[in-house]
């Protein structure tokens, strides 16, 4: 049967879903509606190699327009501003109407904004898309002292890139450690030390009271009355799922669009995937929302299968990374439900990993090390987690014993 399948949101989850649908269904019309006038592209390099000029715009696209053409996947640059789930229609600002039989919502997430005086609205920069990355790159070339508000992954990656561009960088974080509570404090501290070694200033436990513009520069007043002078401000204070469009509909929302393990929402024939979805994870037996590259990819693929009628449960163990200076940090599983923590290694040059166990089984792990040093062990950890293996803690804690032994037949 020929269906009209619409994918709302032309990002990572959307493109992987589209191609997966095509793999399983050669007949249906597949159309991606995306408000960025760009084919789907990778966001991780925006805060890293794109700012550093090691990657150009053309390196970021997942696929060329030829691939989409060959697979008969249509991409239309349009912003949708109204949804009628009852009549299965989407409405665009320019009065275009799109009818669907199946709909995938993959609208991603958007940056939280600081609540500040209106007259400063255009002075604070945020990073989510290529356009913003280009703007930041252009402006910082003439700036020297840059302040990043928020010590999360994206803020720290920008701090690392700008420091490598010889800028003086200050990071202001409201919490008592970098990267929030999902990262073990010991690992956050190792990353913090690296930033400091490279010359970045890290200010923890401080809140912004006021920002004042002075002759084109800025003065930031903190809650301990200290003043920071800076000539450019970027904020990375977290993000929220892009769901405004659905707020007055009967689509079930709760920290994103609520989906089951098949990417199905509360409305028949409507699916959601990627950053926007708060999905049920059968392994952890709870809902979660993730903002990560691997998740957007795998969740998009899973949604694509289900839309094409190949019923598939989403069981991927979460995984994400962050690259800062010469460090690679990786996180797998979940690190907030445990009754035991095991440490592997204590030297960042060889990699340091914390495993989080519950009932002698690994639930998650977080590691950091010089590039290349933690990836293999974190990957093995994902596999051990997935298999619900009871692990030998001696092997986990002894860096002289390779973890390969735990998974090889």
């Amino acid at each position: 049967m020929k269906n009209n399948i619409i994918i709302l949101g032309g990002g990572q989850a959307g493109i992987y879903a589209a191609r997966e649908i095509r793999q399983n269904d050669t007949k249906s019309n597949i159309k991606i509606l995306g408000e960025e006038n760009l084919l789907p592209y990778e966001r991780p390099p925006l805060s890293k190699d794109f700012l550093l000029d090691k990657k150009k715009e053309e390196d970021l696209y997942f696929h060329s327009s030829d691939v989409l053409k060959n697979e008969n996947i249509e991409f239309e640059n349009i912003s949708i501003n109204k949804v009628d789930f009852e009549n299965k229609k989407l409405f665009a600002k320019n009065d275009n109407v799109y009818s669907y039989d199946s709909l995938l919502i993959s609208t991603g997430s958007e940056n939280k904004k600081l609540t500040l005086d209106n007259n400063l609205k255009n002075d604070i920069y945020y990073l989510r898309n290529l356009e913003e990355a280009k703007k930041i790159k252009e402006i910082v070339s003439n700036k020297n002292k840059i302040t990043i508000i928020g010590g999360g992954f994206i803020g720290l990656e920008i701090a690392s890139s700008l420091s490598q561009l010889q800028k003086k960088v200050i990071v202001i974080e409201i919490g008592n450690q970098l990267m929030g509570r999902i990262i073990p404090k010991q690992i956050a501290d190792l990353v913090q030390n690296t930033h400091i070694e490279y010359g970045n200033e890290i200010i923890l436990n401080k809140q912004i009271e006021k920002i004042t513009k002075k002759n084109g520069d800025y003065e930031i007043l903190l809650n301990d009355n200290s003043l920071i002078e800076t000539d450019f401000i970027i904020a990375g204070i977290g993000s929220t799922p892009t769901v405004k469009l659905f707020e007055n509909t009967n689509l079930k929302l709760d920290n994103g669009i609520v989906t089951n393990q098949f990417c199905e929402t509360s409305i028949k024939d409507v699916y959601a995937a990627g950053d926007v979805s708060n999905f049920y994870h059968p392994f952890y037996e709870r809902n979660m929302r993730l903002e990560s590259y691997q998740h957007a990819q795998n969740h998009g693929i899973c949604a694509g299968k289900n839309i094409a009628g190949v019923k598939t449960e989403y069981t991927s163990i979460p995984w994400m990374w962050s690259d800062q200076f010469n460090l690679n940090l990786q996180l797998t599983g979940i690190c907030d439900e445990y009754d035991e923590i095991i440490e592997r290694g204590n030297d960042i040059n060889n990699g340091v990993i914390y495993f989080f166990l519950k009932n002698n089984k690994i639930r998650g792990a977080c590691g950091v090390g010089i590039i290349g040093k933690v990836g293999r062990d974190i990957r093995i950890t994902s596999k051990l987690t997935e298999k619900d293996t009871i692990v030998d803690k001696q092997i986990l804690s002894d860096q002289n014993i390779k973890l390969n032994k735990l998974i090889q037949k």
């Binding site: 990819q297 590039i371 290349g372 933690v374 990836g375 990957r379 390969n404 090889q408």
Partner: protein, 105 residues
């Protein structure tokens, strides 16, 4: 095939099964693998970003990059999983008197 392009890497027992070693020659880096059915060689640097694959995970016929989990088939070099999309170069390998040689062009 001229003989001089075969470069000695080391002895066959220098690699454990389902594992790899890094081998540097002139200014290039290679990975040499021992799989269940023999020895194989590829470029030593991931095609996604400049990361050494020596720290990657070997599983069956695949090498997985330690940085972003890009996966390559060790025998064909084919990039199997994003973010890796460019194939990895592979090299012929031979074993002579318990010594491993790779042919570098």
């Amino acid at each position: 095939m001229s003989e001089e392009n075969w470069i000695e890497v080391g002895s066959t027992d220098s690699i454990e099964e389902e594992d790899l070693i890094r081998f540097d020659h002139q200014d290039k880096t290679f990975c040499v693998y021992k799989l269940t059915d023999g020895f194989y060689a590829t470029d030593g640097i991931c095609t996604h970003e400049a990361v050494h694959l020596e720290d990657g995970l070997v599983m069956d016929d695949e090498i997985e990059c330690p940085m972003h989990q890009g996966i390559f088939n060790i025998k064909s070099g084919e990039a199997l999983s994003p973010p890796a999309c460019e194939d990895l170069k592979t090299y012929p390998v031979k074993v002579d008197n318990d010594k491993i040689f790779i042919k570098i062009d």
